[in-house]
């Protein structure tokens, strides 16, 4: 009798143990459900299209304006890319200067932190005033917004070397430059990439804000123009393109990390609960 019960239990257990789904399936399922609710809600309550367009209307607008959106996306993508690269260069350089020249760093660091409290979005009109409607003010805005996380993470990385290892290097006669080059900088790479991932998303924000403030091309410009025309479906489709663009850029950075820093700790959502 007990045997039968036990085997029954183990049977039920083995049924419960299912193969884990691929990562994207639960997320995709949730998204489809949300879109369905959205579509149904809009139709059920007769929400006007210029207030909240249904997903189907957004999709229609996306197809209709595809050429227009692609041209705009190209402009924004170039701004994001160049701005991001500049942010990375500036961010890394500032971190290296602060770390290598300690006294100057002690003077510079508080100023940089102070500058972070300036609402940088509010600088956009000033940059437009200075540099006009071209790419320059957008790039400057991106750098101002996105270099900070790079600097902070790079600094943390440069300081993440065990003091005893620095002692070891010093004891065999290695000078500060050598320690920086061979130990501190490679140690900083995993931290740097954490900063770069934040910087790439900030770069997208910087580009769009820059275009809001004054532009004649780009996805930010499309959003602003479409909203004055009450073409809300176009606003939403431009938003969609921006999101896809941002996601693509983010994954390029993540891919670069996997390739360049294979020893970096992996952030696996499945293991986080342990």
């Amino acid at each position: 009798m007990t045997e039968v019960v036990q085997s029954g239990v183990s049977q039920a257990r083995s049924d419960n143990v299912r193969k884990p789904l691929p990562d994207f399936i639960p997320a995709a399922g949730l998204m489809i459900a949300a879109l369905l609710v959205w579509e149904l809600g809009v139709r059920l309550f007769n929400v006007p299209e210029f207030v909240v367009p249904a997903p189907s209307a957004v999709f229609r607008s996306l197809i209709e304006s595809r050429y227009h959106l692609m041209v705009a996306a190209k402009v924004t993508a170039i701004e994001v890319l160049v701005g991001f690269i500049l942010s990375a260069v500036v961010g890394i350089a500032v971190a290296l200067v602060i770390s290598r020249f300690e006294r100057f760093g002690r003077a510079l660091y508080p100023l940089i932190v102070l500058f972070q409290n300036v609402p940088k979005v509010a600088l956009a009109p000033i940059f437009i005033l200075w540099f006009g409607y071209d790419m320059a003010p957008k790039l400057l805005l991106i750098v101002v917004i996105a270099f900070f996380p790079v600097t902070i993470d790079m600094l943390a990385g440069l300081q993440s070397v065990e003091p005893s290892f620095v002692s070891l290097m010093k004891s065999v006669g290695a000078n500060k430059n050598k320690i920086m080059l061979r130990v501190r900088i490679p140690h900083a790479l995993p931290h740097l990439f954490a900063g770069l991932k934040v910087a790439i998303t900030f770069s997208v924000i910087g580009a769009i804000v820059g275009e809001f403030a004054g532009a004649n091309a780009g996805l930010g410009y499309v959003i602003q123009f479409a909203s004055t025309q009450l073409d809300t479906p176009l606003v939403f489709s431009a938003l969609l393109v921006i999101s896809v663009l941002g996601l693509a850029f983010y994954y390029v950075v993540e891919l670069a990390e996997r390739f360049l820093v294979p020893w970096a700790p992996k952030y696996d959502t499945r293991q986080r609960s342990h």
Binding site: E162, S164, S167
Partner: protein, 280 residues
Amino acid sequence: MMLAETVAPAPSVASLPETAEAQIIGRHIAVDFTHAGRRQRVLQSVNISIPRGSFVSLIGPSGCGKSTLLKVLAGLVPPSEGSVTVDGIAPEEAAKKRVIGLVFQEATLLPWKNALENAAFLLMTADESIAKSEAFGRAEAMLKLVGLRDAEKKMPSQLSGGMRQRVAIARALALDPQVLLMDEPFGALDAITREEMSECLLDIWERTGKTIVLVTHSIDEAVLLSDEVHVMGTGPARIIETLPITVARPRGEESYSEPAFKAAEKRLRGLLIESHRRTS
């Protein structure tokens, strides 16, 4: 008490065995650290003489300055008073000439280099002109010496704590130093691994004949390995007694049951308990 402290060092200097045997000599070493604007004496008038080729341990409760003393001997911390010589020269010069090898509690391997590259790294930093093949050859030999024959290509993340510490020892040995200074090298390891590492270290010492100075808080470890144990105490931090260990060599697992081992262990325990009681 205070008077006795200040007077005591003078005669012991005279009795230092100033023969050619002594490789590391420290006279009147005192170290002050400035913490939050206050100068604090962390080491008080230490005289120490370490014979060439000997195995010496520094043991004591935490805060007794044993790690600081080791750092002074390594040239990493300049003494506020007194002097240190290693092979007749200042320790920081000796370190640059690769006379001194260092091992710390954390293995601190570079995560982007495999075991072999890690073992060769310090040698290649110390000697820019060394051929890569020569450095790797020496690192390989040292990895074999520490019992890591098949782990050369493994990354640090694939190694256990004990194996990582073996690589750290190989990295120090690759410099071919005369003196190996070790600061609680097995402090972060579990008991069994620790015992294995003690035996590994004993084997290395017997094979290479290097002078080894080991900072430890394990009485067993100190007795099993050392020719001489310096017991350190606090308030102020100093050497309170130097105990020669007469357990017959070669030593091994059977040494634990020798009467000389038990006697030394008992004596050390007594000294440590006494110094601990005085601080608390």
